[in-house]
C-alpha cells in the first residue's frame, strides 16, 4: 500500500513546478527534478531458487539558485525508499550532485563541483561499451535506468572538480580559438587505518582548438592522471600523461562535403615509488610508453542522405590512457550479479552475462582505472576500449544511408595486433555490422522497427595451443507500435553467441601481463522484452514489461532461463 501511495505521490509531483521570479521573467530560484518508481520480480524457470523482488521509489529534487544572472548554483537531493522499508528504515537521503556554473566577464564559462567531461577519444572519453545499439532503441527503459543511476551522459565521465572554457574570435589567419581546461579529483584521500592513507588522485587536462581559414583547423589535447604521493602513504603512485593532436581539413565538391583528419599522440604510464622512510627519494617503476596515429576521412552528401567514414589507425600495445580506456561496464568477477548470483540451489556461481550488462546498476562503472579493465569477448573482442584500444592496427569503413522512413548502416573493420600476446603470432580481427531502421510517423498508428547485427571474427595462427578461431555474433532488435495515442506496444531482443575460445590477459596491479586465462566461448546469452509504455503526460511515462533471458552453451538446451516482470514509472519534474 505504501509503495502504491508513493507512486501516486510521485506522479502528482510531476505537475508541480515551482519557482520565484527575479525582476522581469528570469527566475531567481526554481526547482526541478526527477522521480522514479522501479520494481522487478525475477524468477528462474528451471532452477529451485525462489523468486526475487526488488525496487524503490526515488525523488531527486534539484534546487537551482541564481545569485546573479550569470551564475547558477545547483544541488540534487535524493530521497530513496527501498521496497520493504518501513518507518524510515531503508530510506536514504543524500546530496547526489552539487555544482556552480556560470559565465565570468561574458567570456569564460565555468563549472565547479560535479561536472561532466569528454575531451577527446584518446585522452578523456567514455565509450558506449558493450550495450551499444546504433539506433538507441533496444531495452531503452533498462539502459536509461542504469545510465541515470551511474551518471552516464553521452560519452562524458562524471567527475568532481572545476572546468573552464573560453572562446576568442579573430579576423585573419585564426578565425576562432577555444581554450578549455579542467582539474578534477576522481579519488579523494582516505584514511585506511591509523597511519595509512590512500593518496588523492587527480585528473587535469587542457584543450586548445584553432579554426583557421581555407577549411583548416586543429586541436591539441593534453591530460594527466596522477596520484599525489604526499597526500597518502601508498608506495606506488600512478602517473599517466597523454597528449593527442589533430589536424582537420574540410572541403566541398558539388556532390559531397568532406573532412580529412590526421591525428597522433602518445602516453606514458608508470608508478612513482615512494619510500615513506626516505621521502626525498623518488623513482618511477613499471613505466611504459606508447603512441598512436591515424587518418580519417568523413564524406557527407550535400543533401545529408548518406555519410561515409573511412579511417586507418595504429595504437601501440603500450599506449595507456586511464581517461579513455576505462570501461563503463565492469566484467571482473566481482561484484557478483545482483540477481541470482548463485544457481543450482546455491551450489553454482552464476557468471555475469547479457542480462546483467543491460540491467544491473552495480555492474556499471563510474571510476577511472589506471590499468586495463577486464573485457568480455562475447560482446566485443576487437575494440573493447573504444578507439583507444591498444595493440591494434587497421581500418574501418562506416556507411549510412537515409531515405524517408528507412535508415541503413554498414560497418566494416579489419584489424590486427601489433604485438603478439604470449606468442609472436598476431591476432587478426574482422568485423561486419549491418543494420536498418524503419520509422513510420505518417500512419494513424506510428510504428518503428530496428535491427543491427554485428559479427566479429578473431583468428590467430601458431601452434595448436596458440591458435585462435573465434566467431561471435550480436543481434539487436527493437520494435514499437502506437496502439492508441500515447500508448506504445514495445519489444526488444538481443542475442549474443560465440563459437571458439579466447585467451584473456591477466595483469597485475601495475598492468604487467603475467598470465592468460583460456575461456571457452561456445556460449550464448539472450534477453527479450515485451511491454507497454504509456505516456501519461509530456514528462511522465509508465512502462510495464515482461522480460525473458537466458545464458548457457550454444548447443545446450538446458541452459539457464529466467523471467522478469519489470515496472518503471518516471516523471521529469
Amino acid at each position: 500500500m505504501k509503495q502504491r501511495l508513493s507512486a501516486i505521490l510521485l506522479l502528482c509531483l510531476g505537475n508541480v513546478a515551482w519557482g520565484q521570479g527575479q525582476e522581469g521573467d528570469e527566475p531567481r530560484y526554481w526547482l526541478d527534478g526527477f522521480a522514479r518508481t522501479w520494481f522487478t520480480s525475477n524468477t528462474l524457470a528451471n532452477q529451485p531458487e525462489p523468486s526475487v523482488t526488488a525496487g524503490w521509489n526515488l525523488l531527486d529534487l534539484n534546487p537551482h539558485v541564481n545569485p546573479t544572472p550569470n551564475v547558477e548554483v545547483f544541488a540534487q537531493v535524493r530521497v530513496l525508499n527501498e521496497f520493504g522499508g518501513f518507518f524510515g528504515q531503508g530510506t536514504q537521503v543524500d546530496v547526489r550532485q552539487l555544482g556552480v556554473s556560470g559565465v565570468l566577464g561574458g567570456k569564460v564559462r565555468f563549472n565547479v563541483g560535479d561536472i561532466y567531461l569528454n575531451q577527446s577519444r584518446f585522452t578523456l572519453h567514455a565509450d558506449d561499451g558493450e550495450v551499444f545499439d546504433p539506433w538507441g532503441r533496444a531495452f531503452e527503459a533498462q539502459r536509461n535506468l542504469v545510465a541515470y543511476e551511474n551518471f552516464f551522459e553521452d560519452n562524458r565521465w562524471r567527475l568532481q572538480g572545476a572546468h573552464a572554457n573560453a572562446v576568442f574570435l579573430g579576423d585573419r589567419w585564426v578565425e576562432r580559438l577555444v581554450l578549455d581546461g579542467y582539474a578534477t579529483r576522481p579519488r579523494g584521500s582516505r584514511q585506511l587505518s591509523e597511519s595509512s592513507y590512500v593518496p588523492d588522485r587527480v585528473l587535469a587536462g587542457l584543450t586548445s582548438a584553432v579554426t583557421g581559414q581555407d577549411g583548416w583547423s586543429g586541436e591539441f589535447h593534453h591530460s594527466v592522471i596522477a596520484d599525489l604521493p604526499q597526500s597518502g602513504t601508498a608506495e606506488h603512485n600512478v602517473s599517466n600523461p597523454v597528449v593527442h593532436s589533430l589536424i582537420h581539413k574540410e572541403g566541398s565538391t558539388p556532390w559531397f562535403h568532406m573532412r580529412w583528419t590526421a591525428e597522433a599522440g602518445a602516453s606514458r604510464r608508470g608508478w612513482r615509488m615512494r619510500d615513506v622512510n626516505a621521502p626525498d627519494l623518488d623513482s618511477v617503476a613499471f613505466s611504459v610508453r606508447g603512441g598512436f596515429a591515424g587518418l580519417n576521412l568523413d564524406l557527407t552528401s550535400q543533401d545529408s542522405s548518406w555519410t561515409l567514414r573511412a579511417s586507418y589507425r595504429e595504437v601501440d600495445p603500450f599506449f595507456r590512457s586511464a581517461g579513455s580506456q576505462s570501461k563503463r561496464y565492469n566484467f571482473a568477477e566481482l561484484p557478483a550479479p545482483a540477481v541470482f548470483p548463485t544457481v543450482d540451489a546455491g551450489s553454482t556461481t552464476r557468471s555475469a552475462s547479457l542480462f546483467d550488462l543491460l540491467t544491473d546498476v552495480a555492474r556499471a562503472n563510474q571510476n577511472l582505472s589506471p590499468t586495463l579493465m577486464a573485457v568480455a569477448p562475447l560482446f566485443d573482442n576487437i575494440m573493447p576500449f573504444g578507439l583507444a584500444t591498444p595493440n591494434r592496427r587497421g581500418g574501418e569503413l562506416a556507411l549510412e544511408k537515409q531515405s524517408n522512413a528507412l535508415t541503413m548502416k554498414l560497418d566494416l573493420g579489419v584489424h590486427a595486433e601489433l604485438t603478439g600476446q604470449g606468442t609472436t603470432q598476431l591476432r587478426r580481427f574482422n568485423a561486419v555490422g549491418l543494420g536498418a531502421e524503419w520509422t513510420s510517423t505518417t500512419t494513424p498508428h506510428p510504428w518503428r522497427v530496428s535491427v543491427y547485427e554485428q559479427v566479429q571474427q578473431t583468428q590467430r595462427d601458431g601452434s595448436a595451443l596458440e591458435a585462435i578461431d573465434l566467431l561471435t555474433s550480436n543481434l539487436t532488435m527493437s520494435a514499437g507500435y502506437e496502439v492508441w495515442p500515447g500508448t506504445w506496444l514495445e519489444g526488444s531482443g538481443r542475442h549474443a553467441a560465440g563459437r571458439g575460445h579466447e585467451f584473456l590477459a591477466l595483469r597485475d596491479g601495475f598492468g604487467t601481463l603475467y598470465n592468460f586465462e583460456r575461456v571457452e566461448l561456445d556460449t550464448q546469452a539472450w534477453m527479450t522484452s515485451l511491454g507497454i509504455k504509456h505516456i501519461l503526460a509530456k514528462d511522465i511515462s509508465a512502462c510495464v514489461q515482461w522480460n525473458a533471458w537466458g545464458q548457457g552453451g550454444v548447443d545446450n538446451e538446458a541452459g539457464l532461463r529466467a523471467n522478469q516482470v519489470f515496472i518503471v514509472i518516471s516523471a521529469r519534474l
Binding site: 587505518s193 591509523e194 597511519s195 595509512s196 589536424i247 581539413k249 580529412w260 590526421a262 591525428e263 597522433a264 602518445a266 606508447g290 603512441g291 598512436f292 596515429a293 591515424g294 587518418l295 595504429e314 601501440d316 600495445p317 599506449f319 595493440n391 601489433l418 604485438t419 603478439g420 600476446q421 604470449g422 606468442t423 609472436t424 601452434s463 595451443l465 596458440e466 585467451f503 590477459a505 601481463l513 603475467y514 598470465n515 592468460f516 583460456r518
Partner: protein, 339 residues
C-alpha cells in the same frame, strides 16, 4: 601533407616494439612436467636456534602451486602458495610458524606440494628438532599463574569459570578460562593486567596484540559471545580504588581504546592478531592518539547476549565461553607471521 604526418607518427610509435608480450602460451598451456623434484634444504630443522627450511622444485611451465607442511602430531598446518615455474629455496622458505594454532611441536611433518589442475601430490618428510620461539612482549601465558598485579572480576552467575585451568591449554600447561551464565547483563567478567611498555618504539600500525581464544562448549556457542579488549593509556593508578570491580584505569573519562573479537563462534582454539591502530576510542580521556609506549594496562573480558534482557532466549540453556592463552604483543608483524 597530412598523410606524411601520419606516416611519421606511425614510424615513431613503431620503434622498440617487442614481438610478444607476456609469458609464452605454449609454455603456460603446454604439457606439465616436473623437471626437478621437490627437495628441502634440511629435513631436520631446529627452529629454536633459527633454522629455516627452503623448498626447491622446477616445473616445465609457470603454475599455481600450493605447498603445505602438516604436523603429524599437532595437526598444525603451514601453507605457502605461488605462481611460478620454479620454487627457489631462497624464496620459498618456512620459518617454523603456522597458519593458525595449534603450534607445531617437535614432531614429524609431511610436506605436500600440489599444482593447480594436476592430480599428483609431491611429498617429502621432515622432523622438527626444536619449536620456533616467537619474539614479543609477553602479556600472559598463564603457565606460572596470573601475571603480577592481575585483577579478576566476574558476575555471580551460574558455573562461572574465571580461573586458571590445565585441561586444554593452547601453549604450555595452563590457560585462563572465561565462561558461565549470566541472565541479566552482557558482561560476564574480565581480567585486568597491568603493563609497562615504555620501551616500545613501534607505532600503532606496527604494534599487534596477539591472543589465543577458545570458543564453544560441547559444540555449542552462546549467541553473540565475544572477547571485549580494552587498552588503557591512562596515567591513573592501576588499582587505586579497591572498592571498584577492577582496575580504575578503564573507567569512563580515562584514555581507553577498545577492540572486540566478535563473535566467538568457533570450537577449539584460534589465534587472533590485531594492530593497535584498529582499536577504536572507547572514552576520550586523553589525546586520542594510540601510542603503544603509553599503554598501562589491558582488560580482557567476556561478554554475551543475556537471555532475559538481551532478546537472546536461546542463551538460557547454554553457557558462554571464550578462554584465553598466550597473550602477547609483537612489533612489526602479527605473531604467526614472524620469520
Amino acid at each position: 601533407m597530412m598523410g606524411g604526418a601520419v606516416l611519421v607518427g606511425l614510424l615513431a610509435i613503431g620503434c622498440d616494439r617487442p614481438d610478444s608480450e607476456g609469458p609464452s602460451i605454449d609454455e603456460l598451456f603446454g604439457q606439465f612436467e616436473v623437471l626437478d623434484s621437490l627437495s628441502l634444504t634440511t629435513d631436520a630443522p631446529d627452529f629454536s636456534v633459527g633454522d629455516v627450511v627452503g623448498f626447491a622444485c622446477e616445473f616445465s611451465k609457470p603454475v599455481d602451486w600450493v605447498l603445505r607442511v602438516v604436523g603429524t602430531e599437532s595437526g598444525s598446518v603451514k601453507t605457502l602458495t605461488g605462481f611460478s615455474r620454479e620454487l627457489l629455496p631462497e624464496q620459498v622458505v618456512w620459518h617454523g610458524n603456522c597458519d593458525d594454532v595449534p603450534f607445531f611441536f617437535a614432531e614429524p611433518c609431511e610436506v605436500e606440494l600440489t599444482v593447480d589442475g594436476e592430480p599428483e601430490v609431491y611429498q617429502q618428510d621432515l622432523v622438527i628438532q626444536g619449536e620456533k620461539v616467537f619474539e614479543g612482549l609477553p602479556v600472559a601465558d598463564f603457565d606460572a599463574g596470573l601475571p603480577e598485579g592481575t585483577l579478576v572480576w566476574h558476575q555471580d552467575g551460574g558455573n562461572m569459570t574465571f580461573d586458571l585451568a590445565q585441561d586444554e591449554a593452547l601453549q604450555g600447561g595452563q590457560y585462563f578460562k572465561m565462561g558461565g551464565r549470566v541472565n541479566w547483563d552482557w558482561s560476564l567478567g574480565y581480567i585486568d593486567i597491568p603493563l609497562d611498555l615504555t620501551s616500545v618504539a613501534a607505532d600503532a600500525e606496527g604494534f599487534f596484540l596477539n591472543l589465543g581464544v577458545l570458543g564453544g562448549l560441547n559444540g555449542q556457542f552462546a549467541s553473540d559471545q565475544y572477547v571485549n579488549i580494552l587498552l588503557s593509556e591512562s596515567d591513573a593508578p592501576f588499582n587505586d580504588n579497591t572498592s571498584n570491580n577492577a582496575a580504575d584505569i578503564f573507567a569512563s573519562g580515562m584514555e581507553v581504546y577498545k577492540h572486540q573479537v566478535r563473535p566467538v563462534d568457533w570450537e577449539g582454539w584460534r589465534y587472533v592478531s590485531v594492530p593497535y591502530s584498529e582499536f577504536e576510542v572507547k572514552s576520550e580521556g586523553g589525546n586520542n592518539v594510540r601510542e603503544p609506549s603509553q599503554i598501562r594496562g589491558i582488560r580482557l573480558g567476556l561478554q554475551a547476549c543475556p537471555f532475559n534482557s538481551g532478546n537472546c532466549p536461546e542463551n538460557g540453556d547454554i553457557e558462554a565461553r571464550a578462554d584465553l592463552d598466550y597473550v602477547m604483543f609483537t612489533e612489526g608483524v602479527p605473531l604467526l607471521e614472524q620469520e
